[in-house]
Symmetry: C2
Subunit: 440 residues, 2 copies
């Protein structure tokens, strides 16, 4: 469970301010990404399940409140804020969101939250961290999986993740994005993701000879054993494995020129009649390296990818933001925008429409939520939570993954994203409103 | 608590193999970073406290074992592995480590683990994820703090971290590296780090006017209030704040040309007699941007840094590895190495000596642990755990942070790191040994 104090301090000072000022009317925030990272034609929505669990379970425990009230910043905040408001605090809002696994583009809301202002504000920090990270990993995984052209990609990045929690979230998001499995056992247990593993160099080093190391491993793991070949010399190890008389189902290459080595290893294996033995490659792989190997025709049957998935090393943070778009004022929902240079937004709650033609997506339209349906288009944001309760359990991860692959297959190379005329008008009106207000 | 299944599958298959083969003798692994990231002259060791807690608490619960034994990979593993070995599994090893906050360089062990082989192996994944990430963040924080030349830097990155766990670890590591505080309330509670916060644009947007927004905030947070100026227009907001008659202790700039704006805002404040009001700057800052602002003489009194600290966006993963360096064979500890291209290691347990001259560090020497002391040098690795129990509680984080700043002040611009002659000899001998073995 994520503690209620897992938030930025200003969310709590603002909550106290809203509470004190009686500003408990409803507000709408939208979570979206301002710009896609370089060389990422789409993102893949992910993390919603964890986000909804957080919203359902959010509570200020006695310890949380006791700690908060002694902070110097809260000295002037009346006791009732802690003893009444925070003690009974629940997230009571409504949430609309893209289903996990949905391809998404810049400025399109991934999650839209409507709740009493302090509730909607307080959850910003966790929603951004959870949705932002998992959406980023799922997108990277999808690109890596595309590059592998049908060869399975296994996520191996736990050791390079930003701690154990990040490792777990990355394994789940990578599976949504199309990975075939993970090395992280806890992710297998918790999410039902297929787990896979081979052997480490330390295994080989532990035995007096590589042959002993391979034979010993085969005693316990005959069918599932994957033999690591590069501890000393890949080709000699291959020959030793062949000479040992084992019938390996798979071998692993982890260093050196993977293209050349895979061909040499393949030739040795084939010459020994081990045509069924598969070759698995690991070692600082990403979508570019994999595409090169696949294009070159390297006889590699599967890839293990670590750092590039679990940290999204080429773009480790999305420009994800969570912006106030509407606020109740005088019983009316008023669209609001921010005018900071380079950071302006469109006012009001939105819907994203994906326009389809012959089964392919041809463009997206971001429209005001209240606009009528757009012809031949699917609305992507769905209501997933009402009054703080989930409307349905999350779909199975296997289904989420399959749907993601299918939807990615419908995308053009570059997706046009339009803003509906009504939404553009609303932005202009809001700007005029703000300018007029500025002058007063 | 970190589940025992938070590890790569191969750690568990190898553990079963070692157990089955009776390979329960002691082994030594060292955790080190192969190469420093670009433009990072040093790293700062961090994460040890969490790592030691993990080692002390590591248990295979009933559910862990039940789940593991049904995995297809474990079909042939005898039940006693689960019912006896894993049920009573404890980490019983010895650990030597650098104190948190110690500057460290490539190839220098940060942690050295000596334990029965399966225990030492199993913990690799979590040790790498925990130490690797926090060491990376602490190093980045130290560089950012150096750039700020005495102005406080506050870590604001929770929302961009790789999930809530990563946010917490990043806040702690950034404090070790020299940050003055964090925005993450849970990090304040758990680690005693000073928390700070301002207001969000949404606060300003919620009120009919900026003046109302500022006044309302001041009612509850008079002394600690930090006023955000860039929601609509920074200079107009400054004027409104002045006209409101409030006596702000601090204002925040979050967009635009921070150099120019800070001078203009400073001039407006000074002209209004608000010379005590400090200016705090945020918005995609890193050590380069901060150094530019400081060098230009921008009147900025403190910096908030987010993404660059919580994700170390320019180098989100270290090349941290955990390598077998010695193994008991026939009652004797035998140094081992790996010869994979570009990944070779030095054999045997090591010590790192920091050679000092007039209070300044002039070079490091990586030596075999058994070598005699080096003149005028401090041994950096200390014993922190014996038989799976910590020898002492971790020092206070405030002391760790102060020691880190002091040690960073003793470093040369570029640190020479030598390998002791005895260790180089040992590597050559191990290579010859391995080559001879290869030929058999």
């Amino acid at each position: 469970m994520i503690s209620a104090l897992t938030t930025d301090l200003y969310q709590l000072t603002m909550a106290a301010g809203y509470w004190r000022g009686g500003l408990l009317g409803s507000a709408t925030f939208e979570l979206f990404v301002r710009r896609l990272p370089d060389r990422r034609p789409y993102l893949i929505a992910a993390g919603l399940d964890e986000a909804l669990t957080y919203l359902e379970e959010l509570r200020f425990l006695d310890d949380d409140r006791a700690w908060l009230r002694q902070l110097p910043q809260f000295r002037q905040v009346p006791p009732a804020f802690f003893d009444d408001y925070l003690r009974t605090f629940r997230f009571s809002g409504d949430v609309w969101a893209l289903s996990e696994g949905t391809p998404v583009f810049a400025n399109e809301p991934i999650v839209r939250v409507t709740a009493p202002l302090p509730e909607a504000q307080l959850v910003e920090t966790v929603l951004l961290a959870v949705i932002g990270f998992q959406t980023n990993v799922a997108a990277k995984a999808s690109r890596v999986v595309e590059a592998a052209h049908g060869r399975p990609v296994v996520e191996f990045g736990a050791r390079r993740a930003h701690g154990p929690g990040a490792a777990l979230a990355a394994a789940r998001a990578a599976f949504i994005g199309g990975c075939a499995g993970t090395s992280l056992v806890e992710a297998g247990r918790r999410y039902g993701i297929p787990t896979s593993g081979t052997m480490a160099h330390s295994w080989v080093q532990t035995f007096p000879s590589e042959t002993d190391a391979f034979r010993d491993f085969s005693r316990l793991f005959a069918d599932s054993a994957v033999y690591l070949l590069d501890t000393y010399d890949t080709l000699r190890a291959t020959q030793r494995l062949i000479d040992s008389g084992l019938k390996p189902s798979m071998v692993r290459l982890d260093s050196g020129d993977l293209d050349a080595l895979s061909r040499q290893v393949r030739a040795l294996l084939d010459a020994a009649g081990l045509r069924e033995t598969k070759i698995f490659a690991t070692g600082d792989l990403d979508e570019d390296r994999i595409a090169e190997l696949v294009t070159a025709g390297a006889p590699i049957d599967g890839f293990g990818v670590g750092t590039m998935l679990s940290t999204v090393a080429d773009a480790p943070a999305l420009s994800a933001v969570y912006k106030l778009v509407a606020i109740e004022r005088g019983g009316e929902q008023l669209g609001v925008i921010k005018l900071s240079p380079g950071k302006s937004t469109w006012p009001g709650p939105k819907q994203v429409w994906r326009v389809m033609e012959n089964g392919y997506a041809i463009r997206d339209v971001i429209a005001a939520a209240a606009e009528p349906p757009i012809a031949n288009a699917l609305p992507l944001l769905e209501r997933v939570m009402t009054n703080g309760r989930r409307l349905a359990p999350s779909p199975s991860l296997v289904d989420v993954r399959a749907r993601c692959r299918r939807l990615v297959g419908t995308l053009p190379a570059s997706m046009p994203v339009d803003i509906s005329p009504a939404l553009e008008d609303a932005r202009l009106n809001a700007s005029r409103y703000t300018s007029k207000r500025d002058a007063t």
